[in-house]
Symmetry: C2
Subunit: 333 residues, 2 copies
């Protein structure tokens, strides 16, 4: 492509758009099923129940330590399939590109997206691009829809029983703080990397455990939101122990400086699992045996005697974890 | 909901977002498969090959005569499945909502989207919302991904043969001009309605004709873009006859006033079909027997003796239809 920046003509359906799609998107995403000239493409979904999910991405800045909006879009959508018990197979990709975006930036992002898709074993087989007028776009927004095939047993919040154990696969809040620091809004710097990663290995191995009731990835709204959703859906309370919640030291420091609660920070490569307590130590050992689960921890339990989410603090007190109201960190995904 | 306008808190994963999703999206889109609390939902795709497609929508203004961005999103994506020979079954929906959008406007759009989905026989089963900062959004962008099941025979541009007939299911350019007039940029007014509509009935009936080679909906870039794509993919030229191209009189008038070429204007409820000439009159009769195809017309033929798209003009001349370069009407879909 001769252009260095996106213009409105790249969205008009004509030559410029064709060149953008062929030279940036199709070139990096190339796979046999991707036909950029077709209205719709056939996909192969033999062998199990089909699961379907979608996500939009508006993270600012577009690139941050540990990833960019492209890897985030793949991880976000494939992780939703993974925690639902599926193997991700196909993605569609919508790109809303702002006029004026540097094409080199777009290409870096699409390249990362393509590499992430390949690593995760998922194929981008359908796509669309639209160009937004300058000042209307934030550079780039992505939307990805995923199709996967169920593996293992069907999980549901409805399977959760009083006394079940809650665990998390690794430290929380890295993604939220990494993106916040990348904005350089507070004059803070740090070398915190986003935890954005595929959780497919964690979820696949967890499904071997018959006692596994339910999994969710704690993205927007963090662990707190997963727990308040659990409480609302099951009617059972949730009792957490702050002492056991894994939070990296630099994340904890930034939280203390700025008054953030790690419980509400987004993760993009973690899994929360609810498991029969008889199977909890086994699942913990399974996760800890994996590189991506080596810091997994049991953080609490389902407790029908309380009608809310309760955190036992490290100094021996208790506080109620409320549903998120005002988000201190918007646009981290 | 107590709020009248969208705020950033409606995108944060907490209470405001839950209320927005429950009271606006889930309420209107309600169907048994839509589980707004699930990470991914099972879909049923028995009975044939699965087809997959996606589209983004950025039309301005959000509401126009004959539709709004919600109905457009459903028609745009389900029509891509229809022209590929599928029956649309499921949609995912991503909404990028600008801070400050009136919630009443959002609700009208979601309601129309839900009604259009119901009319088209498609279920919205997965969704996500993100809120964009004020000034960054254009009010609302949508992305929809569709899943359908193939019906009838497999079509392909590769099936197209020299001498095949090209027809269109109705007048062209209504959508482009209706949206342009709704912007009131040129001080022009008119009562032109968008042609945005489902083409499923047209495509299903067309698939009964063994001579049908290929179908496409002439959206961004119009009939001209369909024809230049045909020429590029097949290597055969395309010969069109301006006299037979159906264009409504008010659309023609606006085009003459502003110097637009109806060949490049977007339609959102039309089908271009390439058909074996032996079967052309039969397909024309089939389409003309339908309300949505009553103005269908044969507009040209595949001609291997020319290496471009040629238009025979009404005054007896000829002009070459080039690939679209600069779009006079951006953001009409």
């Amino acid at each position: 492509m001769q252009d260095t920046h996106i213009s409105l003509a790249h969205g008009n359906g004509g030559r410029y758009m064709r060149e953008l799609i062929e030279e940036i998107f199709a070139r990096h995403l190339a796979n046999p099923e991707l036909d950029v000239h077709a209205d719709a493409v056939p996909i192969s979904v033999e062998g199990g129940e089909v699961l379907f999910t979608t996500d939009g991405f508006t993270v600012q800045p577009l690139e941050f330590p540990g990833g960019n909006i492209g890897s985030l879009a793949v991880h976000g959508t494939t992780n939703d399939l993974a925690v639902a018990g599926a193997i991700p197979k196909y993605l569609s990709l919508n790109a809303f590109i702002e006029e004026g975006l540097e094409i080199a930036t777009l290409e870096r992002i699409v390249k990362t997206l393509a590499e992430t898709a390949a690593e995760t074993g998922v194929k981008v087989v359908a796509g669309d691009t639209k160009v937004l007028r300058r000042g209307e776009g934030g550079g780039l927004y992505l939307a990805t829809t995923g199709v996967g095939i169920r593996q293992g047993h069907v999980m549901s919040m409805q399977n959760i029983k009083d006394g079940d154990t809650i665990m998390v696969s690794g430290p929380v809040g890295d993604h939220g703080i990494a993106v916040m620091l990348a904005r350089e809004e507070f004059g803070l710097r740090g070398d915190i990397q986003s935890d954005a990663a595929s959780v497919l290995n964690l979820t696949t191995r967890a499904l071997d455990h018959k006692g596994l009731r339910f999994m969710r990835d704690p993205t927007r709204g963090g662990i707190a939101t997963v727990c308040t959703e659990l409480q609302r859906a099951t009617g059972f309370g949730v009792r957490l122990n702050e002492e056991f919640l894994p939070v990296r030291e630099p994340v904890q420091s930034v939280c203390e400086m700025l008054g953030y609660d790690p419980m509400y920070l987004a993760c993009e490569g973690r899994v929360v699992a609810i498991v029969d307590t008889d199977d909890a130590q086994a699942l913990l050992a399974t996760w800890q045996s994996l590189e991506e689960g080596k810091d997994a921890a049991i953080i609490g339990s389902i407790d029908s005697t309380i009608p809310y989410v309760l955190m036992e603090t490290e100094i021996g007190g208790e506080r109620i974890i409320e549903e998120l109201e005002d988000d201190p960190l918007p646009r981290i995904c």
